[in-house]
Amino acid sequence: MENKTCFHCGDDCGGHPITFQDKSFCCNGCKTVFEIFNENDLTCYYDLQNSPGAIPKEIEGKYDFLSQENIIEKLTEFRDGSIEIATLYIPHIHCSSCIWILENLNKLNPNISDSQVNFGKKTVRVTYNADTTNLKSVVLLLSSIGYEPYISLEDFNSGKQHINRSLIYKLGVAAFGFGNIMFLSFPEYFEVNEFWLEQYKPVFRWLMFAMSLPIVFYSAQDYFISAYKGVKAKLLNIDVPIALGVSVLFIRSSIEIIFDIGSGFFDSLAGLIFFLLVGKFFQQKTYNFLSFERDYKSYFPIAITKIDTNGNENSIQVYDIEKGDRILIRNEELIPVDGILINGKAKIDYSFVTGESQAVSKQSGDKLFAGGKQTNGVIEMEALKSVEQSYLTQLWSNDVFNKNKEDGFTNITNTISKHFTIAILTVAFIATAFWLFVDASKAMNVFTAVLIIACPCAIALSAPFTFGNLLRIFGKLKFYVKNASVIEQLAQINTVIFDKTGTITSNKDSNAEYDGESLSDSETIVLKNSLRGSNHPLSRTLYNILQEHNIITLDAFEEHIGKGIEAKHNTVNMKIGSASFVGSPNTSALLNTTVHVSSNNIYKGKFTFYNSYRKGVSKLFNQLKQHFDLIILSGDNEGELENLKKLLPTKTKLIFNQKPEDKLEFIKYHQSEGAKVLMIGDGLNDAGALAQSDVGIAISEDVNVFSPACDAILDASKFKQLYSYIQASKSAIKIIKWSFVLSFFYNVIGLYFAITGQLEPVVAAILMPLSSISIVLFTTIATNVLGKRLE
């Protein structure tokens, strides 16, 4: 059987492709998109990339809330008369064709005057004429061509985003000053005593002074502020010696040129700040397409349909839902509040919340929890609570979400800087005291020289360059780390806690085991074909697991909702479904999900679904067990206990039936006992635990889809590499320690010149960049070697 792939989206067209202009499509949606592009001369789209599109979804009624004035107000970034500009987040943007089609929106709708894609952020900024079109039709147009924007509660609160570019400005100022001051210092370096250079010396010097002003007072201001805060909190952080060095450099240089003693150290001053800022800039690795700060707001819809007492449907904001409101949830919509199902067939997918991929069926009168996604038609429910008070969202009122993890953590650089600062001050005072007796005129000179040369530029650069480079290497290996301090904390971990569902099990495929009398060939064919016709999630899973069989036409097929399927072909009459429906002899309650099968009213057996564990779980745990305490913290029942025991090392603690708050408290307790906890989870129910732990890693099958707030996001395919990532973080700390040794070596050389009172500007100007550059080279090469070993 040969299946064609869809010309638009590349999916398998199945048995009945839709043919249009000699091209096959998997569904009418894809065909329509092709037609739209075809009519507007945009088929060039398909030349750029093979099958670039996504399957367009049913969207009827979903975006009605976009006609509401107050929602438009929040979502648009510019509104003036007829012109409106909105930036929409489109998760599907993935290739160059996407950029092309989205920037040609004006051909599809002439009222759109401009659209601009930001590929990194996956956003499109649309400018349109609000008199002739509106936000809703723009969104509908995007959805109909397969680029459905994702509009969540987060967009509602964030408003206009402000981009902070101050570091680039500071770097620019420092670079400008550094370059120009270097040029102006050249005559002094070579001590050209030519008459006319001698005569214009003051001009050069005052120019340098003028250029150093913005560097000291603008570019370096963060160091002064941080040093001030450090001293106030009685902490000698690395910025204290830096600020000290910078001020001494500036004051001494100014005095030198005012009294015409020498040329000052403006070149070293500018170079020092420039290098420090480069380090800061390098450490700042941001992943535009990822967010580490997500809470429930990024998942929840912005508005929902409310049914009033007269039966009219209105869009209301999610925050306005009150207890007792009747609300309507459409297919693929998220339930925003806890409530009771009134009518409709609910099939709720809680994978956002728990990581569990199997949808749960609910009957009228059952309780529904916020965070679930309806996957089967329209339902009506009554709200029991408001958004903030729902079971899941309550978690975010915990203090842990307002805490900054970096606050309580002393990083490696600051640990060393405490000793360093004290040592330097001691050396400076002893040297000054010595010179006061020997040659008092030189004492002040030596004191300042020591502070200048000891300015810990190289030390301050070690960590940013090591961690910055490692962040990039990790990023290439699909381990996306929020910032440098996370790597440091990762190196200190001693306890690793895993969530079960979705973390060590895979969402994509589950395993089913058949238990009972073996089925004949004809029975298997009927089984497979009847599953094919059913939309129940268990049927879909089982269908995918069973091997390929011929497609036949069934004589009779009936699906009994909530019970099972009945199918007939020739002499075979099969029932597939729940134990009672099929007529299973033993109805003992099992914790695992099962599907029973009978043929011609004779019970045959059952399929039992097991979680399918990620590849390499066992190996990973065995690697980890030598260095860490291992714990599994699961929200599920104990159904998998025996399986886990077989799979994992014996010392692994297994704890089940944990509520989101329990997980958080569990970690808190262990931390109070001195554990440094690494939490690995995936769903929103782990959000509290991820925030409480020292390092929280979210596992994600697709990093473009959402993951809860965390410190790092790990692509599921790299799960088994986790151990080597932790080891790499530890090696990074070693690299930093070695580069500290290297920079002490430079400091000793510099101190020799300083203490003996022979620190010339040219010596400082050579030594400072030399030490900085060699540290940068050393850390970069060492981390790259480390990265090579990871691959």
């Binding site: 030349d47 750029l48 160059s96 950029i99 920037e103 590929f119 680039i168 620019g172 214009y200």
Partner: protein
């Protein structure tokens, strides 16, 4: 007057000019997205290739 003043003025003015241009470029958001423009540039050829009707595509904003 010595020529050195002229030279110094010229060098500083050029330096400042480049600095101002850099700041303006950053402010305009030129460095916020460093991937999309590289792709967008390539499409300008593709569009000219279609001489179907009268509308000639020019992207001016």
């Amino acid at each position: 007057m010595s020529v050195i003043y002229v030279l110094l003025t010229v060098s500083v003015v050029i330096g400042v000019a480049f600095f101002v241009i850099f700041i303006m470029a950053v402010k305009s958001g030129q460095y916020d997205d460093d991937y999309t423009p590289s792709v967008r540039m390539l499409f300008e050829d593709e569009l000219v290739k279609e001489p179907t009707t009268t509308s000639k595509q020019t992207k001016t904003d």
